[in-house]
């Protein structure tokens, strides 16, 4: 298990970043993809927005973007049957069991 997975298992959504290059390193990695220096780890803002979405049965799934860089796919926990592009959402749950899981609200 890597650092990202360890934290995800605890319900923490984190990213790697490089202070030297002043950039988020995403997808999460041990080294900066620009300078190959060591990364720091920090929590990602829970506030994101919907880039695209669709539905499977009654489940709305979408690509959400955080900090204008980090995009992940997750399920939108909503009573509504649709969503909007640019809609503000929050990451309400994340986990790592056999696979990764992200829930937005």
């Amino acid at each position: 298990m890597n650092k990202f997975e360890e934290e995800l298992k605890k319900g923490n959504f984190i990213t790697s970043e490089c202070h030297k290059c002043d950039k988020i390193v995403w997808p999460p990695s041990e080294y900066c993809d620009n300078c190959f220096g060591n990364v720091n780890w920090r929590k990602i803002s829970e506030n994101g927005e919907i880039i695209e979405w669709s539905k499977k049965g009654s489940d709305v799934f979408c690509i959400a973007e955080f900090e204008k860089t980090i995009r992940i796919m997750g399920k939108l926990n909503t009573k509504n049957t649709d969503a909007k592009i640019g809609q503000h959402i929050q990451l309400s749950e994340c986990s790592f069991n056999q696979g990764y899981r992200f829930i937005f609200m």
Binding site: E52, I72, G99
Partner: protein, 368 residues
């Protein structure tokens, strides 16, 4: 750099049968030997296997089962475009002079592990290809007002064209309403807009210009190669453009000193209907925003220029075999040996093969 030609080929039937990977590889290899003049095992310098199967050492295993003792032998894996990636490796060995004759054999089983990229954390629990395809389709509908009917035309055309491909998984034609009313996989994807993961194998024999005519009077030359990888993560992609395909096409056209309007016949990576509409535009075969109209016109006029063997949707998609099967089709077309599928006066052809939601693409130009 030596010129390199396709001088032989073999296909198995694509099916959902559970067949050992070694048997699949051997069957299409056997076809190459059965149908290629003057070919003997001792002439083959290299055996390259293209697959996503977890079995190890398949290059050596196929060599032993075929009685070949090659200098070069290994496996290439690059998800859905493993087949063209392996072909580019073989091309490079021959062009550089390291080898003269190489067998490239691709195969996968219908339950192959190449359909899900576990590493891509960004996909969350939505790991299967239907989810990125839904995102592509929804974004395309939103940006270009693409309709369900326009998507269904792709599937109707490719299923129809597969009727004349004896190796295709599907041998059933569907009407546009049948496709539009097929099972909803998601709100933006119908069952019949998806390609099927199949068991199957395709092989080609590549040879240098020094020896190509020993095996055939009509070698088909690989005159252009373009490849591009942008990422492994799907979610970094632009959803309405196949950027890697555009880059790969530019490189391939440039190498072949050819333009898109010279392409007489093309095999395009229609993993889902939306991919064909995007690819015909990004390969320059249709102008931007006219892809749906272009494909509808082909369908209405029974013009088989795009995906004459039925594409991935009609022929099925045994991942490691797909790119090679596409090359076999274009080779047959340029040799005027495609029987009922033949496109008239085909002199220049194109193969478009991509992986993991177009995070990488290969484009090949072939000439007779």
């Amino acid at each position: 750099m030596k010129k390199v030609a396709v001088v032989g080929y073999g296909n198995t039937k694509f099916s959902t049968d559970d067949i050992p990977i070694e048997s699949l590889l051997l069957e299409s290899t056997k076809e190459v030997f059965n149908t290629t003049n003057n070919l003997s095992q001792d002439l083959i310098d290299g055996v390259i296997v293209s697959t996503n199967d977890n079995s190890k050492y398949l290059g050596a295993i196929l060599s032993e089962l075929s009685g070949i003792k090659p200098k070069i032998s290994h496996t290439v894996e690059h998800l859905c475009s493993s087949g063209t990636a392996a072909t580019v490796s073989a091309f490079s060995y021959i062009a550089s002079g390291l080898a003269d004759i190489i067998l490239v054999a691709g195969a996968d089983k219908s339950d192959n592990p190449g359909q899900v990229l576990d590493w891509d954390r960004s996909r969350g629990e939505f790991t299967r290809p239907i989810y990125w395809a839904s995102m592509f389709t929804k974004a395309h509908k939103r940006k270009f007002n693409t309709t369900e009917e326009e998507l269904a035309v792709v599937s109707a055309k490719n299923h129809k064209q597969a009727l004349d491909n004896p190796h295709a998984y599907s041998h059933k034609a569907y009407t546009i309403p049948e496709i539009m009313n097929s099972k909803n996989i998601t709100d933006d994807l119908r069952m019949l807009d998806c390609s099927y993961s199949c068991s199957g194998s395709s092989s080609i024999l590549l040879a240098s210009e020094d020896i190509a005519k020993k095996f055939t009077d009509s070698p088909v030359w690989i005159s252009g190669i373009g490849q591009k990888t942008s990422s492994a993560s799907f979610t970094k992609n632009d959803l309405t453009n196949l950027d890697t395909t555009k880059s790969a096409a530019d490189i391939a056209y440039n190498m072949a000193k050819a333009t898109a309007n010279e392409i007489d016949v093309a095999e395009i990576h229609d993993a889902f209907s939306i991919c064909e509409l995007m690819a015909v535009e990004d390969l320059g075969l249709a102008k931007k925003t006219t892809g749906a109209e272009f494909v509808r016109n082909l369908f209405n006029t029974e013009n088989r220029q795009i995906n004459p063997r039925g594409g991935l949707i009609g022929a099925g998609h045994p991942l490691g075999a797909t790119g090679i099967s596409q090359i076999v089709e274009i080779t047959q077309q340029l040799q005027n040996k495609a029987e009922k599928r033949q496109v008239s006066n085909a002199n220049k052809g194109l193969v478009h093969n991509m992986s993991a939601a177009a995070t990488s693409s290969t484009v090949l130009i072939l000439e007779s």
